[in-house]
């Protein structure tokens, strides 16, 4: 077990290292430097500026300096606002996290409930309805759902206020973000629940007189939930990426919309910092998922 965990941690570190390499060298491949202005600047001034920001050094050395700064918590300065990126990023991430955590919790809870219902009413009406709607849910990109929700519930029906930071109402964005993972978890729970209910120990438990409810929720569901754990990592990635469009559509000032605006503003240091930050989050979510998965299910072979 310890060997497996060390291996996974090493792999995660290698991934993050590769991501920093890709981002750094990709950003440096873009023609033009930060001091290229419309008006010609005195070459001596540019030379001094480049020396000041270490831009005259070879690329490899610049990378080492960048990583060193990163490890010390210096994520660079935004070209757009001129402020340090880190503090902005953490503030914005707080907003995104509020949205993302709610979406994740709702997706997991509703998904598991719907999935169990579908498994218990197999091939009957509730099952068919649930499967119909979840199939629909997995076929709808989050931006389509988000814009349609905005159109119908904010503009036509007027049930919800359009999102504002002074009076935040997360209902619609959370729905838009959680439908896809919820549908996925529902389908996952259904298959693993059906699988679990056909096991011998379920029959044994029923035979020795355990009540049906207890069998379903204690013996069945607990085992059915193990495969659901594997989806947590991909779900975190989906929510982080999905929040970019959802935040943009609902004009929520989170990390996702910051990323999108920094792309259109060509604010390279911010793009770089946010990419690395999100990548670290995703890699760790995957790491955690894998380790927890092996911990809760000792039957799984460690390779």
């Amino acid at each position: 077990m310890a060997k497996y965990i060390t291996k996974r941690i090493l792999l995660a570190i290698v991934s993050i290292w590769i991501i920093t390499m890709i981002t750094f060298f990709a950003m440096n491949a873009i023609p033009g430097g930060p001091f290229n202005k419309e008006k010609a600047t005195d070459p001596a001034v540019i030379k001094q500026l480049e020396e000041r920001y270490n831009l005259d050094k070879p690329l490899g050395e610049q990378y080492v300096i960048y990583i060193k700064n990163l490890l010390h918590g210096d994520w660079g300065v935004s070209l757009k606002t001129g402020r340090p990126i880190w503090s902005d990023m953490i503030n914005k991430f707080g907003v995104s996290a509020k949205l993302g955590v709610r979406a994740a919790i709702i997706a997991i809870i509703v998904g598991i409930i719907l999935g169990s219902c579908a498994a218990l009413t197999r091939n009957r009406l509730p099952d068919r309805l649930i499967i119909f709607f979840t199939t629909l849910g997995t076929a709808m990109p989050s931006f389509v759902l988000a814009t349609l929700l905005l159109l119908v519930f904010c503009l036509w029906l007027g049930w919800f206020q359009v999102f504002s930071s002074s009076d935040p109402n997360y209902t619609l964005p959370v729905i838009a973000l959680s439908v896809y993972p919820m549908a996925y978890i529902t389908r996952l729970t259904k298959t693993s629940m059906l699988d679990a209910l056909n096991q011998d120990y379920i029959r044994t438990a029923r035979a020795k007189g355990v009540s049906k409810l207890k069998v379903i929720f204690v013996h069945g569901l607990r085992n059915a939930l193990i495969p659901v754990i594997t989806y947590v990592g991909p779900m975190v990635a989906y929510i982080l990426v999905g929040s970019m469009v959802v935040e943009n559509i609902f004009t929520i000032g989170g990390l996702g919309s910051t990323f999108v605006t920094s792309i259109s503003n060509r604010d390279y240091p911010t793009i770089m910092a946010v990419t690395i930050f999100l990548a670290i989050l995703m890699v760790f979510a995957n790491l955690l998922t894998d380790v927890v998965y092996k911990l809760v299910d000792p039957r799984i072979k460690l390779d």
Binding site: L11, A12, V14, S15, I18, I19, I22, T23, A26, M27, A29, I30, P31, G32, T135, L136, T138, A139, M140, P141, F143, V144, T147, L148, L150, L151, L155, A237, V241, M244, V245, N248, I249, F259, V260, I263, S264, R266, I271, T275, L278, A279, M282, V283, N286
Partner: protein, 360 residues
Amino acid sequence: MENKEVKKSFLSAQVDLSKFNAGNFEKATDDEKRQQDVMGESTTFLKDGLRRLRKNPLAMGSIVVLVAIILVILVAPHIVPYSYDEVITVNGQRDKTMTNLSFMCYSDKELAYMEETGEDLFPHIFGTDGLGRDYFIRVIYGTRVSLAVGIVAAIMVVLIGIVYGSVAGYFGGKVDLIMMRIVDIIYSLPDMLIIILMSVVLKEVLQGKLVGTVLDRLGTNMISMFIVFGLLYWVSMARLIRGQILTIKNNEYVLAAKCIGTSNRKILTSHILPNCLSVIIITTALQIPSAIFTESYLSFLGLGVSIPLSSLGSLANDARAGMQSYPARLVIPAVIICLIVLALNLLGDGLRDAFDTKLD
């Protein structure tokens, strides 16, 4: 002695011969013998799978929907006289009232022109957009682009995945170990972020370098998407193929082929890969919608196909600005994306049920 008939016990299982006569014990004729040899018609793996697929109404419905969509996008550009980037003119003159028309409507100038000349102009089936372009044909081209991106990306993923996975699986040992470590690392990279990053970078790097080529029309964003698909998305395919090959390569017929001196390449292509076909087909069918998803997502972020070409995602994004006044322009591409992805997903599920006999 008289052969006295013994009274048969009620529970006896002995055959009661008195019920038969000599006629019952005649030898069977050749014709009758042949009747015993009747066997089910022999089927191939493909036929068997298709039979099962045909019984699945959802999968068949998806095929119908997909074929209908493909027919429309192939035929429509030949019928509709407008082009996707054409600002519609009446009699060679720009028409200011042409913008934002509703379904099947004509502008005032067009009506006047038709009355004057008696000529029938082609109707604007979905109306026109804010610049006075025919929206129907834009949707048609958008669907073309989205589907083409999905299919090309899926083919790329399949090809790379098959080559990589089969080499790793077939040769095994150290080769496999190293190749699979690489897959592990690539698998853990967040693909969407890298696609966005590469789009941003390639947009700047390739700007102006592609003018005049076919790639220019598609735009640097699509190229970067394909590059990243080629670099990252094949890993799950490679893993699947490798797993399949690991089990298949230990079969006797592979050993037999090796014994008679068949080359590795021949064994792989004619003995092993055909047996992975079901997995390959299913994964490809499910890969297309995921590529369409990615493309529409990028287009929505403004990182998709370059203007004036449209894709379903970019159409939806453009329609967002006027969605209160012209909701149809948002709803149409949205519905088409959902329809395509839904049909492909259901078809993929149907193919899995039909061809993957191991899953029951």
